[in-house]
Symmetry: C2
Subunit: 448 residues, 2 copies
């Protein structure tokens, strides 16, 4: 059923109070549809949906949607009900929801939970959300190296309900130091009496809990793992990061980069939940900074006031010239910032990157110069001015390509996210310098 | 070992012809490092590396790096050698490499391959690279519903070398129609004589081969699957898409969006392999289109030539005013394009999105108006002009936020990628209209 149909069907069933229909709709639906459905339900419909669904369905649904949405739903329930739902969720998902609740409310719900479940969540809360520890789950299987294959399988059967992934079994010593890893199919396809010690892969890929979550996600992808063990600084196994977290992390990181490239600070919450005040705060910093940088254009223009007064036609082309420079700059910088983000290039590639961008900038500049000459003729500004426009656009294209090629690489080297070299930033930088190029060429060629 | 160290160590070992050292470096390294290492080796070093490595290591390495790089390495080898290496790779990876070779060379290598392997690749080549079929692999396990659990495990043991993932077993009828799916742990944790028919999940999540690869990737993520079966239009099982392909697909789609948002057409190849001519072709289209749109600013300025001649100071603020409008537009559009891409908002949300952006634009505009008034005073242009500037910037901020909020939603509704509403496009649209706003306000208030 398409998401739009699902939304209207659910709304209808809720309106008529048809619990059986709601249940069957939820069961038929894709879990992936819920993040789109929940925000479409209004404040009178949500409590009814919560009331109609059994605890298990509801906790599944809460795991699927954004933590901030799940938190809003929990706030409509009693602390005991909320605690029961959180207990039924995977600990990493439950932690994200608790994190999205106001501190006091979170505390009251934690107090109502089973002490063991609450303790797990409290441990996970201690890690920053953007660290490997912040996305791990404690739902792993760990066994002693002294077991045999058949005993390991029996151990698995006992815990199969509680763990998030059964495809890897971790081998730890008495103090929980990570010794090795064993895949389920290796365990199955071997003789039952083989000791785990002989089957395990020693020195497995792992990551420290305080490492960056993006590094963890990329490691999981690069090594084609289904789960990555997370250890503390003394190699004690704390949790695992599973494949289903990777896509989320990579998507969130891409979202951050895109928001930065557009010239704002990342929202860190879904757009829907970004209030007016948050949007304002995330945007005003760069707007003011860019305004301050762009204000320089006023000084440049004032400096060339006499030339502008003599040839008013020069001002006609200002937006076109600096606009084209900004466009090339934006093309170059976004391509490079992305190439840096996926690890394709770094400062050591600066030389060939610059050379390539200069050549492309030169060719683009030549084409644009011809087109600009034609456009100037159409405005009847005279061949002199048209020639100035052509030469300026060529110079601005090359200049802009060079700045946009080098700046992200240098910024990245300084360990600042290269995405701060946004399209608006490059545009702003090229605006002022472009005007200087323009008036200098005009002054020389038109003998002003 | 860090990537930089690895690169110098490998270069040194190759220079001294120390094969054992090369081998041990390759074995110690992370597979994830190879995409960064290979491009750093020069044309004399690559053939030596290929010569030193055993076939198995080499085919693993070729699977890790970009298909276009793997293709370049294959071109240095004989067709027979190339064929042997491709046979050792997973069919989906081998297909990507064949796809990156010139047609004639690809054909000659396919002829040298084992007929069965070549046939698999030819089948996969038939699907467009951006379809679900284009990223699937035929390396799955399919069994009859009439087997028992123990027989199924025995069947798995026989094929364990050849399949890409063993975590799911697919159940098909005699004509290969997909009937159900069975997870390995379900198979293991049950009584050996249970019929497969009773264990399998019927009507499993699947995708048609001609569906979009991004849809396939999101389905896999949303449903938390380790592998997704790909079927033809009559529900015959053709292959599976595994978790390791998902991150690649999502990353590539994010790269495309980012490149579009920067104002160029997507490169579709890694930046390193994008030649001058490709970069030129991907950029010139939008540059010319934006130039044509921006050329309108010249007409506007010409129209207000008299006013400009009377108050030259008005021109000082042109870049600043339209620049700020462009910046707000870029902030709004990139945030919204991303929210659309991840499925968070669509046209049905247009009303509240517009309302929210108008309010934020108004507040931002008020702040910028105050700052702009101060800046105008610094340039000693008189309070009249300063007031015009303030009022204009307020109007431009609101206008720009409105355009940038609505346009991506409409474009998306027209089934065009909303990322074409790039920062440069919004900037360009706002430039011309911003000038009209500016001069209209100036004319009224300054009585020109």
């Amino acid at each position: 059923m398409a998401t739009d149909e699902l939304i209207s069907a659910i709304k209808e069933a809720l309106a008529t109070g048809d619990q059986a229909r709601v249940l069957s709709l939820v069961e038929q639906s894709d879990p992936g549809q819920w993040p789109a459905v929940i925000p479409q339900l209004d404040e009178s419909e949500l409590p009814l949906l919560v009331e109609f669904l059994p605890e298990e369905e509801l906790s599944d649904l809460l795991s699927e949607i954004e933590p901030i949405e799940a938190a809003q739903i929990l706030r409509t329930l009693s602390h005991t009900q909320a605690a029961d739902l959180l207990e039924a969720m995977a600990p990493d998902d439950a932690t994200d929801v608790i994190d999205a609740l106001p501190d006091e409310q979170a505390e009251q719900i934690l107090i109502q939970m089973e002490p063991a479940d609450a303790a797990e969540i409290r441990e996970l809360l201690a890690f920053p959300p953007d660290s490997a520890g912040g996305i791990m789950t404690p739902g792993f299987v760990a066994i002693s190296p002294n077991l045999r294959a058949s005993q390991a399988i029996a151990a698995l059967q006992r815990v199969s309900e509680e763990v998030e992934t059964m495809y890897y079994v971790y081998v730890v010593d008495d103090e929980e130091h990570l010794l090795g890893v064993l895949s389920l199919h290796r365990l199955v396809l071997t003789r039952p009496d083989t000791p785990v010690r002989d089957l395990m892969v020693t020195d497995p890929v792992r990551i420290e809990a305080n490492a960056d979550r993006e590094a963890a996600a990329r490691l999981l992808v690069d090594r084609n793992l289904l789960a990555l063990p997370v250890v503390d600084t003394s190699n004690r196994l704390l949790g695992i990061i599973t494949q289903d977290d990777v896509a989320d992390v990579l998507e969130e990181e891409a979202t951050e980069d895109i928001e930065r490239l557009g010239g704002s600070q990342p929202l860190d919450v879904p757009y829907r939940y970004a209030g007016i005040s948050l949007l304002f705060r995330r945007r005003i910093f760069w707007l003011l900074l860019l305004f301050a940088a762009e204000a320089y254009t006023g000084t440049v223009m004032r400096h060339f006031e006499d030339e502008l007064a003599q040839v008013v036609a020069l001002s006609f082309f200002i937006p076109l010239l600096i606009g084209t420079g900004g466009n090339i700059g934006s093309q170059v910088t976004t391509t490079l910032v992305r190439a840096i983000a996926v690890g394709e290039i770094s400062l050591r590639d600066a030389r060939w990157v610059l050379a390539k961008e200069l050549v492309v900038g030169l060719i683009l500049g030549l084409v644009m110069a011809i087109v600009a000459f034609g456009r100037a003729q159409l405005l009847h500004v005279g061949s002199d001015v048209a020639f100035v426009i052509s030469l300026t656009i060529l110079a601005i294209c090359v200049w802009s390509a060079a700045v946009a090629a080098v700046l992200p690489l240098i910024i990245n080297r300084l360990r600042i996210d290269p995405a701060v070299v946004s399209a608006p930033l490059i545009t702003t930088l090229v605006d002022g310098t472009g005007l200087v190029i323009y008036f200098t060429i005009a002054k020389r060629l038109l003998h002003l």
